[in-house]
Subunit: 340 residues, 2 copies
DNA sequence: AAACAATGTTGGAACGTTCCATCATTGTCT
DNA sequence: AGACAATGATGGAACGTTCCAACATTGTTT
């Protein structure tokens, strides 16, 4: 059997012929619906095995006029949070017989437009946007055509989108409350003002500080979500007078920058400076880093998004409300009580 | 327009009617093949825009009896190497109008069997296995049905699989040669004997040491690909007498363990100990770590795999030979000359 | 002028399923 | 006995494309 004369794949008619029944019976057996006598059922099952029959998904999609496929658009495959969320999504969708079709928004030359076009051509039944997407006409149009969920983004692009994400406000308060409980008062924040997560986490920081009567110690230095940004901000924070005894960074990468800056300033962590991050990335777990960090149940968020989608696909359902998942705090070696 | 009475999507017949031509002309315009008069072409293009027509991928796949889809099976989405390779794959496949269908082998309850089944039902034209897969009957069967490439795995599952991966032997030699050039002689290796990459990299280490006349200093301590394993191995290495002045670790994670162990033993890096890793993960770039590491052109490997697949899909082509991509060395702050 | 090639255009037949109306058989209730 | 429901099986029509053979028109060569 060379490549040229690779034998044609068996179709449902071949199976029907081999089993001595009509194609309809084969279809009924395969889908498990309707009434089929035991004898014919086993005959069909035999023939299927015999011929190595595999139903053709394209033909099925055409016949059913549905695709059992969910489009998943990532904006950054490298972000561990997204990866983990997608794994959660995948696990739940798979259980329900739904296939995932994934693509990376940024990898697409025409900024995702052609990816969305492809997905819609595939007749996806739902769309999941993982991460914050830039506004784009194609995106808002797509969201109007199929049920859409924004996963891990603080807000969806336009209307008709349900948001499933972590409660960044609550997470930030968790971290700050932990530092306060340790006895810190002078707690600074390295933020990322340009991003939506940055804004939410900063709000949580400020709220918790105020709630603890520490409003006068609120101090935010703008950085970004990178190590570089955290480093720059921390140098500013640590070089001046009135040094904070603890820093809550907007994410783990920025926290790493803070750690580096502390080292350069001759400050020991956690003896001279406590540092807390956000996202509980694999980095935080590393022995050399051991960073206290807010854990954002990303896998669970993915699963939840899948559940919402599945419910949404039931006929007669309506758009579910947004959901905020509650994060937890993973305490590690980078935070301790300040020395008197 | 409520959800209930969402208007039926326009089909090619609707477009043909609106443009006053036959469905065949619409098809020709859309695919850009054959002869169509300018007048009818613009009429069709108008109608397409007017109706928001979008061809149905399932019907097209059925008609063409091909899917323009490549199945991609990952065994670990969290591995940055794989992610980057997939991005390379995606970028090249997209340019050629091929769609990627991704799934995670491990996420599948039945150990990937059902994922492969789904992919084959989708009539994928080729299969890419990213990372080392466990042997499985479904996998070998799939590899016989469609052109298959193992990406980033040292060896494919069974026959009929082309392997595209990095030359681990050469990469290891690169790192070791760098250490030797710095003046190190007592260079130890923290290995991962249980894995295929571990074996290849160890071989490279030993070969380079021997080539430099340093056979007597060859010393390998077994660890694994994790920080934990690297830490354990390094403690053994550094606590005894005859301490090495440099360590080449099997990957970046293990190298991190080595760094931690050095710190615990009171050794400064790179003053007292040089450390080199492998994979050039984002970790290695971090200021606090700044690890010299072998860079494994993963994006390029993905692109190359895509090129091979595209060539393989041409009728009359044969299975291409395996390919090894040459890595490069990224020198950072963790390696320096030993002090006299 | 006839033959032929290049350019345009068409409708019908695939492609491989599911869906549906129909029919046949059997058993159960009035 | 007749009516009806449950069970079992069937073939034809859809689904929305592409593919193909056939036909029309025009221009070019013999």
């Amino acid at each position: 059997m060379t490549a040229l004369e690779r034998k044609r794949a068996a179709t449902i008619l071949d199976v029907a012929a081999a089993a001595g029944v009509s194609k309809s019976v084969v279809s009924l057996v395969l889908r498990g619906t309707g009434y089929v006598s035991a004898a014919k059922r086993t005959a069909v099952e035999h023939a299927v095995l015999e011929l190595g029959y595999r139903p053709n998904a394209a033909a099925r999609a055409l016949g059913e006029s549905r695709s059992r496929t969910v489009g998943v658009v990532l904006n950054d495959m490298r972000n561990p949070w997204f990866v983990s969320a997608v794994e959660g999504l995948n696990s739940t969708l798979n259980e329900r017989g739904l296939q995932m079709l994934m693509g990376d928004f940024r990898l697409d030359s025409r900024s995702g437009e052609s990816l969305l076009k492809k997905l819609l051509e595939m007749n996806i039944e739902a769309l999941v946007l993982v991460g914050t997407m830039p506004e784009s006409p194609g995106l808002t149009a797509a969201a109007l055509q199929v049920p859409t969920i924004a996963l891990g983004a603080p807000t969806g692009p336009g209307a008709n989108v349900t948001v499933v994400t972590n409660d960044d406000d609550a997470g930030a308060r968790l971290a700050v409350a932990h530092l306060i409980a340790l006895g810190h008062r002078r707690i600074a924040h390295v933020g990322a003002p340009a991003t939506a997560v940055g804004v939410a986490r900063r709000r949580g920081y400020e709220a918790e500080m105020r709630a603890a009567g520490l409003a006068e110690f609120i101090r935010t230095v703008p950085g970004d979500l990178s190590e570089e940004g955290g480093h720059r901000a921390a140098l500013e924070l640590l070089s001046g007078g009135d040094r904070p005894t603890a820093v809550f960074a907007v994410n783990d990468m920025a926290a790493l920058g803070v750690l580096s800056a502390a080292e350069e300033c001759g400050l020991a962590v956690p003896a001279d400076l406590s540092v807390a991050g956000y996202d509980n990335t694999p980095l935080a777990r590393l022995r050399r880093i051991s960073l206290t960090s807010v854990d954002t149940a990303s896998f669970a968020a993915g699963q939840r998004a899948a559940e919402l989608l599945i419910a949404r696909l039931e006929p007669g359902s309506t758009m579910p409300p947004d959901e905020l998942l509650v994060p937890t705090l993973e305490v590690r070696g980078s935070t301790a009580a300040p020395h008197a």
